[in-house]
């Protein structure tokens, strides 16, 4: 917490998620080592680092998606608004409703555009058709996709372009009104124009959501994020506000990575 308050002195932010002493194992392999980190509310936090550094694993620990991997084990405490999401009384399903996720490869369901966005509401037990239609529209607008699809909501989501599919996945995520959105390299499979749209979207979403994004692209991290955390070999090497991280990193490793000397 200390670092963040220092980093964001001009505009103090509250903390949305805190992780303390987090270790993640795949079988006997330790993928994340003792990570203490705070994620600021209503901001974009970028996780950067070379392939295999554990940033995606760490991300997936934040909404208990690692639970679905058989050999995966998470230790330590991960707090969402002060409550441990790995607590014994906590339902992972509830955690994932509050902490949504957008994946690297867009993964729309083979259903209509409308049904894709409505899915989260339907599984939540929402029956009110008008409300669903309204939320679908609002979510598609929120993901900057509405104008492109409003005339073909009933056609298959698989007919959309790659960039549109990814924004549909974001819309689908928004529809359940999450508090935090985790994004695992959401633009890595997209062309520059589609990437630019996603980045623009991120800047808008920041107003209402807490966003944690894993990215391979340092330029992207620099463009969209407020805070940056650098992971290396499963450890959190350094973190701070993005401007400082990219101009005056305090650790040598960070500087080497950011200046492109390895990674």
């Amino acid at each position: 917490m200390k670092e963040i308050t220092e980093a964001a002195l001009e505009a103090p932010r509250s903390v949305k998620m805190q992780t303390r002493g987090v270790n993640v194992f795949y079988g006997a392999n330790q993928a994340i080592k003792d990570v203490d980190f705070d994620i600021a509310d209503k901001s974009v936090t970028a996780l950067i680092g070379p392939s295999g550094c554990g940033k995606s694993t760490y991300l997936r620990a934040l909404n208990r998606m690692n639970d679905t991997i058989d050999s995966c084990r998470v230790e330590g405490r991960i707090l969402l608004d002060g409550e441990d999401i790995y607590g014994r009384m906590v339902d992972p399903v509830e955690v994932r409703r509050r902490v949504g996720m957008v994946f690297q490869k867009s993964n729309p369901f083979p259903k209509s555009i409308f049904e894709n966005v409505a899915f989260g509401l339907r599984i939540g037990g929402e029956k009110d058709k008008d409300l669903i239609a309204q939320r679908v529209e609002e979510s598609l607008k929120g993901a900057a996709l509405w104008d492109e699809v409003k005339d073909r909501l009933q056609s298959s989501a698989l007919g959309l372009s790659g960039g549109q599919q990814q924004r549909l996945c974001i819309a689908r995520c928004l529809a359940v009104w999450p508090e935090v959105i985790l994004m695992d390299e959401p633009a890595s499979a997209l062309d520059p124009i589609a990437t630019a749209k996603i980045e623009e979207l991120l800047r808008e979403l920041r107003e209402r959501y807490t966003i944690v994004i894993v990215t391979h692209s340092m330029q992207q991290a620099a463009r969209v994020s407020d805070f940056t955390a650098f992971f290396y070999m499963g450890e959190l090497v350094e973190h701070g506000d993005t401007a400082t991280m990219f101009t005056r990193p305090s650790k040598k490793r960070t500087e080497e990575y950011i200046s492109g000397r390895f990674g």
Binding site: T68, D70, R96, R97, M101, F103, N107, F119, L158
Partner: protein, 299 residues
């Protein structure tokens, strides 16, 4: 691309093998169609067989086959699909139970069908049926503990079970992990994910597997010899405890049990043709469903 000497040799050998297969298929089917088609008539399809087995029709055998196949499907398919869902969606891949079940399924698939017949006789008829009789009736005459369409269908259900399980598992595994992840990440429970995402996307594959299993079961004769198929039974089964005629078994009966085998031959070919048409149409249905479900996954 140019063929070298070895290519010619391999192409020649594989081509010859292909030719042998095609020829066999052609001779087999051609002969059946050639001899069987003239026998097919409205009367043949709707009449009872004559007492000498050289005249009349095969309606009771068609009816018995369809009835048995339906019972078998109702009894076996839900269990098979449920087992496959458990294995792929719920059991951890390294769990002992899952491994034991998988091993059992694989072994079950390799068991000769006559053994299933003996199993049906020993387990369903003597043990289950016999116990029911002992509990329910004082009468020494068996009510449940004798061959019947129920026990034959259950025996075949056990026979088709491995096929249903393996093909359903295969179909479930074809559903990309990304879709499961997407669903779970939206706060769906595992049940909702299976029910709303996995099963609808695996539907085509499951259906294909089920139909192939059913078509195999419909044509099996060995398991039902002991379990309920009748040589000659000119009335339709009305009760689960009745015996029944079966197309496959009727072929066997006509070929070996008929008082005059030569005179029964046209009936034999006709019966074989009907049996083939039934199983082929099931297979064709499976092919169509598979093609459709593949098309549905594309935009």
């Amino acid at each position: 691309m140019r063929y070298t000497g070895k290519d010619w040799l391999l192409a020649g050998l594989t081509g010859a093998a292909l030719l042998v297969i095609l020829l066999l298929l052609f001779v087999l089917l051609g002969q059946i169609a050639w001899h069987g088609a003239p026998v097919i008539s409205a009367e043949f399809l709707t009449e009872k067989p004559g007492a000498d087995m050289t005249s009349g029709g095969i309606w009771p055998a068609i009816y018995g086959t369809v009835f048995m196949t339906l019972l078998m499907t109702l009894a076996g398919v839900p269990v098979g699909i449920a087992t496959a869902i458990f294995l792929t969606e719920y059991a951890s891949p390294r769990s002992r139970i899952a491994r034991a079940v998988r091993m059992a399924v694989n072994n079950l698939a390799g068991v000769p069908s006559i053994v299933f017949g003996l199993f049906g006789l020993g387990f369903f008829i003597i043990f289950v049926g016999g116990s029911l009789d002992a509990i329910l009736y004082d009468d020494p005459r068996p009510v449940w503990g004798k061959p019947s369409i129920l026990w034959a269908s259950l025996t075949l259900a056990v026979l088709t079970l491995p096929v249903v399980i393996v093909t359903t598992e295969e179909a479930l595994r074809q559903v990309p992990r990304e879709l499961r992840d997407a669903s779970l990440a939206l706060g769906a429970t595992r049940f909702q994910t299976v029910y709303m995402i996995v099963l609808p996307n695996a539907k085509g594959g499951i259906l294909t597997g089920v139909i192939l299993a059913v078509s195999r079961g419909a044509g099996e004769v060995a398991p039902i010899i002991f379990c309920g198929a009748a040589n000659f039974l000119p009335y339709l089964p009305t009760d689960l405890r009745d015996m029944f005629m079966h197309l496959g078994y009727h072929v066997y009966a006509l070929a070996t049990q008929s008082p005059n085998v030569d005179a029964a031959r046209p009936m034999l070919f006709g019966t074989v043709l009907v049996l083939l048409v039934l199983t082929f149409s099931l297979n064709l249905l499976a092919v169509i469903i598979r093609a459709r479900s593949r098309a549905a996954l594309r935009p």
